[in-house]
């Protein structure tokens, strides 16, 4: 697991041994059909979003005359109109997903560190109690979780999202991080202990800094999960002003359906935050997706 995270780019079997620089043409000659197929798949993947982008610049007239090809002038006004509605939702999402992510990284790493570094009675039992949760599908607990949140009087507050998201998110974080911390050289910690550092100081000053990149993977996947969660906010949040983005977009869609320009502009705006996140962390993304999938 740790190997896979730390060395993402791979030894790749060179099927035809590329000899020197003149092989570029030969390579293209052999690979062109794979490129062609992959490009077709990529076009299918992106096609709906290209259409969305095109429509997002149209007014009603342009759409009724020429719905799917670009038309001019571009109506940037759609973006101001949609932005006024969608951007506040984005801020709500940043607050709840950000807080939940912080909680998951903090509690997850501390818990994983305790499990990896110390031995105490019941350690394995407690750890399996956590792991078993990976086997419980969300659908079983969806309704009762709602009841719990209702009885705690958290409905329609940010805590209704944040606390269950931390509780659920930390499971996978602990699973990934324990393996990582267990593989760290013990001498480091011993040296610090001899120097009289307390256990919490060792965790904060040694373990956390050394696990920054895997904490990054955990954080990004946690954000991805909560940011795109639709169902849980749908049943727990009822005040439109505190909707997270995805729920806000759903509501926006029911208001603006057939007002295509602003509607599509809203979708585009709603997609931008994760694209920005992705742009800065794409390597972690790819590693994490692969690593996460392998272990689940």
């Amino acid at each position: 697991m740790t190997e896979r995270v730390s060395q993402p780019t791979e030894q790749k079997p060179t099927l035809a041994h590329t000899s020197g620089s003149s092989s570029l043409r030969k390579m293209m000659k052999e690979d062109w059909w794979k490129h062609l197929l992959l490009i077709i798949i990529s076009i299918f993947l992106f096609f709906p979003f290209v259409i969305t982008l095109i429509i997002s610049f149209k007014d009603m007239n342009q759409f009724s005359v020429e719905p799917f090809w670009p038309t001019f002038p571009l109506h940037w006004g759609n973006y101001t109109e949609a932005g006024a509605i969608v951007v506040p939702y984005i801020f709500n999402s940043i607050v709840v997903s950000g807080t939940a992510c912080f909680g998951v990284v903090l509690i997850g790493s501390l818990t994983a560190y305790v499990f990896a570094s110390f031995s105490f009675p019941g350690r394995e039992l407690l750890y399996y109690l956590i792991l078993i949760l990976l086997m419980i599908p969300n659908i079983l607990t969806l309704v009762p979780s709602f009841v719990v949140v209702r009885d705690l009087r958290l409905l329609d507050t940010n805590w209704a999202l944040i606390l269950p998201w931390i509780a659920g998110g930390q499971v996978f974080a602990i699973f990934i991080l324990r393996t990582f911390y267990a593989a760290m050289p013990k001498d480091l910690f011993e040296a610090a202990r001899i120097d009289g550092a307390g256990e919490l100081a060792i965790y904060a000053r040694i373990a956390v800094p050394l696990s920054k990149s895997i904490l990054g993977v955990v954080a990004i996947f946690n954000i991805l999960g909560t940011w795109n969660d639709f169902l849980w906010p749908l049943i727990t949040i009822s005040t439109p002003d505190s909707y997270p983005l995805v729920l806000g977009l759903f509501r926006f869609q029911s208001q603006y359906y057939t007002v295509w320009g602003p509607l599509m502009a809203g979708y585009v705006i709603g997609t931008i935050p994760l694209i920005i996140l992705f742009a800065f962390t794409s390597r972690l993304f790819v590693q994490g997706l692969a690593a996460g999938g392998i272990k689940l």
Binding site: K12, V143, P144, L152, L163, L289
Partner: protein
Amino acid sequence: MTLWRRIVKARYYYFLLLPCFVLLILFNYYPAFLALWGSIFTLDYGREGTYVGLKNFRDLWNDSTFITSVRNVVALTLFGTITAITIPIFVAEWIFRLQSDRAQYFYRIIMVWPAIVPGLVTLLLWQFIYDPYYGLLNAMLSWVGLDSWANTAWLADPDLALYALMGSAFPFVGGIGVLIYLAGLQSISVEIYDAAKLDGAGGMRQFLTIDLPLIKGQIRLNMVLSIIAGLQALTGPLVLTNGGPVNATMVPGLYMYQQAFTYGRLGYASAIGVIVFIAVFVLTVFNLTLFKDKD
């Protein structure tokens, strides 16, 4: 040292685990318990509920909507699993066999794209694509001359809605499957391919005799993941069709959601959740043991 002394000595560690377990008990263990409790013992939760034994399950057995929803989810999961296993293999192979590392990396990034677009946005786009009057699909059908098809109400036709739902996963390479296969292919050692080439095995032969057997684990993983996701399907039908028309796209997850949050029948809803949970659990365990024995 007695167990008790050891526990007392380790109290600091338990204290550090406290935040984790407090949250888990509140939001994971207790709800899981409540799901079983609510479904088996009471019609409604806790204080106001009454003991009804297995009545909820018996009622489900005779509930024609639920039976329809099970049939639908089996069809959706079957289709979803078959596409999730097969199509990503080809895409992963094409990417894996590219000579250039940079091209490989480029396509891998592209394959991550579906994961960073909010799933809901994709669903809403499909709703637009399927729209009978303004939709992209009907427009494309009339471009290619199939005008008689170009007014189809894909999501409102009881005979088509379920297939439309299946189609909304097009082109069936959603993110993680391809990357799982790629990781598997990349862990195959170079020597095996070198040996195969010396023996004169071509691309197809290598695929069948090296790649497929060695990524069995990844195939199994993709299968398990898509079965788990398929049986729990809820958001897709909820957004695209809300189970309609006339339950043509009803699935147990959505039925559970409606029973709980539209009709307030929390006990009945929990019973549905328990049934889906058991199905997921049994299929996962069955899958894992079945494949393990063969290895």
